[in-house]
Protein backbone atom coordinates (compact mmCIF):
# COMPACT_ATOMS: atom_id res chain seq x y z
CA UNK A 1 0.00 0.00 0.00
CA UNK A 2 1.26 3.50 -0.87
CA UNK A 3 1.71 6.22 1.73
CA UNK A 4 -1.29 8.06 0.31
CA UNK A 5 -3.30 4.82 0.46
CA UNK A 6 -2.38 4.27 4.11
CA UNK A 7 -3.34 7.84 4.92
CA UNK A 8 -6.66 7.45 3.17
CA UNK A 9 -7.39 4.20 5.03
CA UNK A 10 -6.37 5.72 8.35
CA UNK A 11 -8.69 8.68 7.84
CA UNK A 12 -11.55 6.34 6.92
CA UNK A 13 -10.95 4.30 10.08
CA UNK A 14 -10.80 7.48 12.18
CA UNK A 15 -14.02 8.74 10.67
CA UNK A 16 -15.70 5.40 11.33
CA UNK A 17 -14.66 5.27 14.98
CA UNK A 18 -15.73 8.89 15.56
CA UNK A 19 -19.10 8.06 14.10
CA UNK A 20 -19.38 4.99 16.29
CA UNK A 21 -18.64 7.10 19.36
CA UNK A 22 -21.27 9.66 18.41
CA UNK A 23 -23.86 6.94 18.14
CA UNK A 24 -22.75 5.10 21.24
CA UNK A 25 -24.59 6.58 24.18
CA UNK A 26 -24.92 4.90 27.57
CA UNK A 27 -28.00 5.75 29.59
CA UNK A 28 -28.38 5.08 33.33
CA UNK A 29 -31.80 5.53 34.86
CA UNK A 30 -33.79 4.60 37.97
CA UNK A 31 -30.48 4.06 39.73
CA UNK A 32 -30.33 3.77 43.50
CA UNK A 33 -28.36 2.22 46.32
CA UNK A 34 -30.26 0.39 49.04
CA UNK A 35 -29.47 1.81 52.49
CA UNK A 36 -27.68 -1.01 54.30
CA UNK A 37 -28.77 -2.01 57.81
CA UNK A 38 -26.63 -0.68 60.69
CA UNK A 39 -23.21 -2.33 61.06
CA UNK A 40 -23.12 -3.75 57.53
CA UNK A 41 -20.36 -2.29 55.28
CA UNK A 42 -21.91 -3.80 52.15
CA UNK A 43 -24.53 -2.29 49.86
CA UNK A 44 -26.28 -3.19 46.62
CA UNK A 45 -26.77 -0.79 43.72
CA UNK A 46 -29.57 -1.15 41.18
CA UNK A 47 -30.76 0.61 38.05
CA UNK A 48 -31.51 0.32 34.35
CA UNK A 49 -28.63 0.69 31.89
CA UNK A 50 -29.26 1.18 28.19
CA UNK A 51 -26.94 1.42 25.22
CA UNK A 52 -28.04 3.54 22.29
CA UNK A 53 -25.49 1.94 20.06
CA UNK A 54 -24.84 -0.24 17.06
CA UNK A 55 -22.48 -2.73 18.65
CA UNK A 56 -22.87 -4.21 22.13
CA UNK A 57 -20.98 -2.75 25.05
CA UNK A 58 -19.89 -4.38 28.27
CA UNK A 59 -19.92 -3.06 31.82
CA UNK A 60 -16.49 -4.19 32.96
CA UNK A 61 -15.78 -2.55 36.30
CA UNK A 62 -17.23 -0.34 38.96
CA UNK A 63 -15.77 1.86 41.68
CA UNK A 64 -17.75 3.59 44.40
CA UNK A 65 -16.73 6.51 46.61
CA UNK A 66 -15.85 5.45 50.15
CA UNK A 67 -15.72 1.74 49.32
CA UNK A 68 -12.86 -0.68 48.80
CA UNK A 69 -14.41 -2.33 45.78
CA UNK A 70 -17.44 -2.99 43.65
CA UNK A 71 -18.39 -6.15 41.83
CA UNK A 72 -21.18 -7.40 39.62
CA UNK A 73 -23.29 -10.17 40.99
CA UNK A 74 -26.21 -12.18 39.82
CA UNK A 75 -28.52 -13.83 42.29
CA UNK A 76 -29.27 -17.10 40.57
CA UNK A 77 -31.67 -19.81 41.59
CA UNK A 78 -31.08 -23.46 40.84
CA UNK A 79 -32.91 -26.67 41.65
CA UNK A 80 -34.45 -27.14 45.07
CA UNK A 81 -34.35 -23.45 46.01
CA UNK A 82 -30.56 -23.26 46.20
CA UNK A 83 -29.72 -19.66 45.52
CA UNK A 84 -26.24 -18.46 44.92
CA UNK A 85 -24.70 -15.11 44.34
CA UNK A 86 -22.44 -15.49 41.35
CA UNK A 87 -19.70 -13.01 40.63
CA UNK A 88 -19.72 -12.00 36.98
CA UNK A 89 -15.99 -11.75 36.31
CA UNK A 90 -16.41 -10.88 32.63
CA UNK A 91 -18.77 -8.05 33.42
CA UNK A 92 -22.24 -7.71 31.96
CA UNK A 93 -23.02 -7.37 28.26
CA UNK A 94 -25.32 -4.56 27.21
CA UNK A 95 -26.92 -5.12 23.84
CA UNK A 96 -28.14 -2.29 21.62
CA UNK A 97 -31.61 -1.23 22.64
CA UNK A 98 -32.01 -3.95 25.27
CA UNK A 99 -32.24 -2.40 28.76
CA UNK A 100 -30.04 -4.10 31.34
CA UNK A 101 -32.10 -4.27 34.52
CA UNK A 102 -30.32 -4.45 37.87
CA UNK A 103 -33.02 -5.17 40.45
CA UNK A 104 -33.44 -6.80 43.89
CA UNK A 105 -33.26 -10.57 43.66
CA UNK A 106 -31.37 -10.51 40.36
CA UNK A 107 -28.43 -8.65 38.87
CA UNK A 108 -26.88 -6.08 41.14
CA UNK A 109 -23.70 -4.16 41.81
CA UNK A 110 -22.24 -5.16 45.16
CA UNK A 111 -20.27 -2.43 46.91
CA UNK A 112 -18.05 -3.72 49.71
CA UNK A 113 -15.78 -2.15 52.29
CA UNK A 114 -17.88 1.00 52.81
CA UNK A 115 -16.17 3.31 55.27
CA UNK A 116 -19.37 5.08 56.24
CA UNK A 117 -22.90 3.75 56.25
CA UNK A 118 -24.79 5.35 53.34
CA UNK A 119 -28.02 6.84 54.63
CA UNK A 120 -31.31 7.24 52.81
CA UNK A 121 -31.46 10.75 51.33
CA UNK A 122 -27.73 10.81 50.59
CA UNK A 123 -25.86 9.75 47.48
CA UNK A 124 -22.85 7.67 46.44
CA UNK A 125 -20.53 8.60 43.60
CA UNK A 126 -20.20 5.57 41.35
CA UNK A 127 -17.93 5.19 38.34
CA UNK A 128 -19.11 2.60 35.87
CA UNK A 129 -16.52 1.57 33.31
CA UNK A 130 -17.69 0.28 29.94
CA UNK A 131 -15.53 -1.52 27.42
CA UNK A 132 -16.38 0.85 24.59
CA UNK A 133 -17.99 3.90 26.20
CA UNK A 134 -15.28 4.21 28.86
CA UNK A 135 -15.88 5.61 32.36
CA UNK A 136 -19.26 7.06 33.25
CA UNK A 137 -19.66 8.91 36.58
CA UNK A 138 -23.07 8.84 38.21
CA UNK A 139 -24.39 9.76 41.65
CA UNK A 140 -26.60 6.96 42.93
CA UNK A 141 -29.23 8.23 45.39
CA UNK A 142 -29.44 6.16 48.58
CA UNK A 143 -32.92 4.96 49.43
CA UNK A 144 -34.47 2.69 52.02
CA UNK A 145 -35.56 -0.59 50.47
CA UNK A 146 -39.23 -0.22 49.61
CA UNK A 147 -41.67 -2.32 51.61
CA UNK A 148 -42.97 -5.31 49.68
CA UNK A 149 -46.60 -4.97 48.65
CA UNK A 150 -49.06 -7.48 47.25
CA UNK A 151 -49.34 -7.58 43.46
CA UNK A 152 -52.44 -6.06 41.94
Amino acid sequence: MTAAGRLALASILLATSAMATDQHVIGIEEHWVAEPPPGVPVAAAYGVITCRCITSDRLISVAAGGASMGEFHATTSGDGGVVAMRRLDDGIEIRPGVPLVLAPGGLHIMITGLEERPRAGGGIHVTLVFERAGAVDVVFPVMARPAVVAEE
Binding site: P38, M85, I111
Partner: protein, 196 residues
Protein backbone atom coordinates in the same frame (compact mmCIF):
# COMPACT_ATOMS: atom_id res chain seq x y z
CA UNK B 1 -26.54 -55.31 6.33
CA UNK B 2 -29.17 -52.59 6.36
CA UNK B 3 -31.35 -54.71 8.68
CA UNK B 4 -28.49 -55.07 11.15
CA UNK B 5 -28.11 -51.27 11.23
CA UNK B 6 -31.81 -50.94 11.82
CA UNK B 7 -31.68 -53.35 14.77
CA UNK B 8 -28.66 -51.57 16.23
CA UNK B 9 -30.45 -48.25 15.84
CA UNK B 10 -33.55 -49.52 17.64
CA UNK B 11 -31.47 -51.00 20.46
CA UNK B 12 -29.54 -47.74 20.87
CA UNK B 13 -32.82 -45.81 20.92
CA UNK B 14 -34.29 -48.12 23.58
CA UNK B 15 -31.15 -47.70 25.67
CA UNK B 16 -31.47 -43.90 25.56
CA UNK B 17 -35.15 -44.07 26.53
CA UNK B 18 -34.40 -46.47 29.40
CA UNK B 19 -31.60 -44.24 30.67
CA UNK B 20 -33.79 -41.14 30.58
CA UNK B 21 -36.59 -42.95 32.47
CA UNK B 22 -34.06 -44.23 35.00
CA UNK B 23 -32.58 -40.78 35.62
CA UNK B 24 -36.03 -39.23 35.95
CA UNK B 25 -37.09 -41.89 38.45
CA UNK B 26 -33.89 -41.41 40.45
CA UNK B 27 -34.42 -37.62 40.49
CA UNK B 28 -38.06 -38.07 41.61
CA UNK B 29 -37.04 -40.39 44.47
CA UNK B 30 -34.24 -38.07 45.58
CA UNK B 31 -36.60 -35.09 45.60
CA UNK B 32 -39.14 -36.97 47.71
CA UNK B 33 -36.44 -38.18 50.09
CA UNK B 34 -35.10 -34.67 50.60
CA UNK B 35 -38.55 -33.30 51.38
CA UNK B 36 -39.18 -36.12 53.82
CA UNK B 37 -36.03 -35.41 55.80
CA UNK B 38 -35.89 -31.60 55.98
CA UNK B 39 -36.02 -30.67 59.64
CA UNK B 40 -34.51 -32.13 62.78
CA UNK B 41 -32.32 -31.20 65.71
CA UNK B 42 -30.78 -27.76 66.09
CA UNK B 43 -29.85 -25.39 68.90
CA UNK B 44 -28.98 -21.72 68.42
CA UNK B 45 -29.14 -18.36 70.16
CA UNK B 46 -31.93 -15.96 69.23
CA UNK B 47 -31.03 -12.30 68.73
CA UNK B 48 -32.51 -11.50 72.15
CA UNK B 49 -30.11 -14.01 73.75
CA UNK B 50 -32.65 -16.81 74.36
CA UNK B 51 -31.78 -20.34 73.23
CA UNK B 52 -34.03 -21.76 70.52
CA UNK B 53 -34.05 -25.46 69.64
CA UNK B 54 -36.11 -27.78 67.43
CA UNK B 55 -38.34 -28.42 70.48
CA UNK B 56 -39.54 -24.83 70.29
CA UNK B 57 -41.04 -25.57 66.87
CA UNK B 58 -43.47 -28.11 68.37
CA UNK B 59 -46.94 -26.71 68.95
CA UNK B 60 -46.19 -23.65 66.76
CA UNK B 61 -46.12 -23.14 63.02
CA UNK B 62 -42.73 -21.95 61.91
CA UNK B 63 -40.98 -20.46 58.94
CA UNK B 64 -37.19 -20.68 58.58
CA UNK B 65 -34.79 -19.18 56.09
CA UNK B 66 -31.05 -18.78 55.87
CA UNK B 67 -28.68 -15.94 55.03
CA UNK B 68 -26.16 -13.54 56.58
CA UNK B 69 -26.01 -9.86 57.48
CA UNK B 70 -23.30 -8.94 54.92
CA UNK B 71 -25.60 -10.24 52.17
CA UNK B 72 -26.35 -7.22 49.97
CA UNK B 73 -29.28 -8.38 47.91
CA UNK B 74 -31.26 -11.54 48.45
CA UNK B 75 -31.35 -11.57 52.28
CA UNK B 76 -32.76 -8.04 52.72
CA UNK B 77 -35.19 -8.80 49.90
CA UNK B 78 -36.36 -12.01 51.60
CA UNK B 79 -36.59 -10.43 55.06
CA UNK B 80 -38.87 -7.70 53.71
CA UNK B 81 -40.93 -10.26 51.78
CA UNK B 82 -41.43 -12.46 54.84
CA UNK B 83 -42.43 -9.44 56.94
CA UNK B 84 -44.92 -8.37 54.25
CA UNK B 85 -46.46 -11.86 53.95
CA UNK B 86 -47.03 -12.10 57.71
CA UNK B 87 -48.40 -8.54 57.76
CA UNK B 88 -50.88 -9.39 54.98
CA UNK B 89 -52.13 -12.41 56.95
CA UNK B 90 -53.12 -10.13 59.87
CA UNK B 91 -53.86 -12.17 63.03
CA UNK B 92 -53.16 -15.47 61.24
CA UNK B 93 -49.61 -14.22 60.72
CA UNK B 94 -49.15 -14.03 64.50
CA UNK B 95 -49.51 -17.83 64.63
CA UNK B 96 -46.28 -18.25 62.66
CA UNK B 97 -42.81 -17.90 64.20
CA UNK B 98 -40.33 -16.62 61.62
CA UNK B 99 -36.60 -17.38 61.99
CA UNK B 100 -33.70 -15.96 59.98
CA UNK B 101 -30.65 -18.20 60.52
CA UNK B 102 -27.15 -16.93 59.76
CA UNK B 103 -24.79 -19.08 57.68
CA UNK B 104 -21.93 -16.73 58.65
CA UNK B 105 -21.34 -17.17 62.41
CA UNK B 106 -17.80 -15.84 61.97
CA UNK B 107 -19.08 -12.29 61.44
CA UNK B 108 -22.66 -12.46 62.68
CA UNK B 109 -22.70 -12.10 66.46
CA UNK B 110 -25.93 -12.05 68.45
CA UNK B 111 -25.58 -8.25 68.81
CA UNK B 112 -25.10 -7.72 65.06
CA UNK B 113 -28.02 -10.02 64.32
CA UNK B 114 -30.26 -8.07 66.74
CA UNK B 115 -29.42 -4.78 65.02
CA UNK B 116 -29.85 -6.32 61.58
CA UNK B 117 -33.15 -8.16 61.97
CA UNK B 118 -34.93 -5.40 63.90
CA UNK B 119 -33.95 -2.89 61.18
CA UNK B 120 -36.24 -4.80 58.81
CA UNK B 121 -39.02 -6.18 60.97
CA UNK B 122 -40.18 -6.90 64.53
CA UNK B 123 -41.78 -10.17 63.39
CA UNK B 124 -38.59 -12.06 62.62
CA UNK B 125 -36.19 -13.72 65.07
CA UNK B 126 -32.53 -13.93 64.11
CA UNK B 127 -30.70 -17.15 65.04
CA UNK B 128 -26.94 -17.40 65.56
CA UNK B 129 -25.05 -20.63 66.19
CA UNK B 130 -21.44 -21.65 66.59
CA UNK B 131 -19.79 -23.24 63.54
CA UNK B 132 -20.73 -26.67 64.96
CA UNK B 133 -24.30 -25.66 65.72
CA UNK B 134 -24.65 -24.34 62.19
CA UNK B 135 -23.26 -27.59 60.79
CA UNK B 136 -25.83 -29.57 62.78
CA UNK B 137 -28.67 -27.40 61.55
CA UNK B 138 -27.37 -27.58 57.98
CA UNK B 139 -27.46 -31.38 58.21
CA UNK B 140 -31.01 -31.32 59.58
CA UNK B 141 -32.27 -28.88 56.95
CA UNK B 142 -30.22 -30.12 53.98
CA UNK B 143 -28.80 -26.64 53.85
CA UNK B 144 -26.08 -25.71 51.38
CA UNK B 145 -23.69 -22.90 52.28
CA UNK B 146 -20.20 -22.01 51.09
CA UNK B 147 -17.75 -19.20 51.66
CA UNK B 148 -16.72 -17.28 48.52
CA UNK B 149 -13.59 -15.13 48.89
CA UNK B 150 -13.52 -11.69 47.27
CA UNK B 151 -10.51 -9.88 45.82
CA UNK B 152 -10.36 -7.25 48.59
CA UNK B 153 -9.83 -9.91 51.26
CA UNK B 154 -13.45 -9.99 52.43
CA UNK B 155 -15.86 -12.77 51.56
CA UNK B 156 -19.46 -13.51 50.75
CA UNK B 157 -21.60 -16.63 51.18
CA UNK B 158 -23.60 -18.78 48.79
CA UNK B 159 -26.55 -20.44 50.46
CA UNK B 160 -29.95 -22.08 50.10
CA UNK B 161 -32.47 -19.25 49.97
CA UNK B 162 -35.81 -21.06 50.03
CA UNK B 163 -38.17 -20.38 52.93
CA UNK B 164 -39.09 -23.58 54.79
CA UNK B 165 -42.48 -23.99 56.41
CA UNK B 166 -42.65 -26.38 59.38
CA UNK B 167 -45.89 -27.74 60.81
CA UNK B 168 -46.98 -27.90 64.46
CA UNK B 169 -45.12 -31.20 64.89
CA UNK B 170 -41.91 -29.53 63.72
CA UNK B 171 -41.99 -31.45 60.42
CA UNK B 172 -41.45 -30.09 56.92
CA UNK B 173 -44.74 -28.80 55.49
CA UNK B 174 -43.83 -26.88 52.34
CA UNK B 175 -41.27 -24.45 50.92
CA UNK B 176 -41.54 -21.04 49.30
CA UNK B 177 -38.93 -20.43 46.62
CA UNK B 178 -37.61 -17.13 45.31
CA UNK B 179 -39.81 -17.27 42.26
CA UNK B 180 -43.09 -17.53 44.20
CA UNK B 181 -45.47 -14.60 43.83
CA UNK B 182 -46.77 -12.67 46.85
CA UNK B 183 -50.18 -14.36 46.62
CA UNK B 184 -48.68 -17.85 46.25
CA UNK B 185 -46.56 -17.30 49.34
CA UNK B 186 -49.47 -16.02 51.43
CA UNK B 187 -51.62 -18.95 50.21
CA UNK B 188 -48.97 -21.45 51.36
CA UNK B 189 -48.63 -19.75 54.74
CA UNK B 190 -52.40 -19.71 55.16
CA UNK B 191 -52.47 -23.43 54.40
CA UNK B 192 -49.73 -23.92 57.01
CA UNK B 193 -51.87 -22.19 59.66
CA UNK B 194 -55.00 -24.12 58.68
CA UNK B 195 -53.62 -27.60 57.95
CA UNK B 196 -50.08 -27.65 59.34
Amino acid sequence: MRRRHLVQGILAGLLVVATVIGVMELHRRQTEDVEAVIGGPFSMLAHDGARVTHEDLTGRRSLLFFGFTYCPDICPTTLLQVAAWLEAMEEKGDLIDAYFVTVDPERDTVERMAEYVTYFSDRITGLVGTADELRQMADSYRLYYARIDLDDGSYTMDHTAAVYLMDAEGRFFDAITMTASFDEAVAKLTRLVEDG
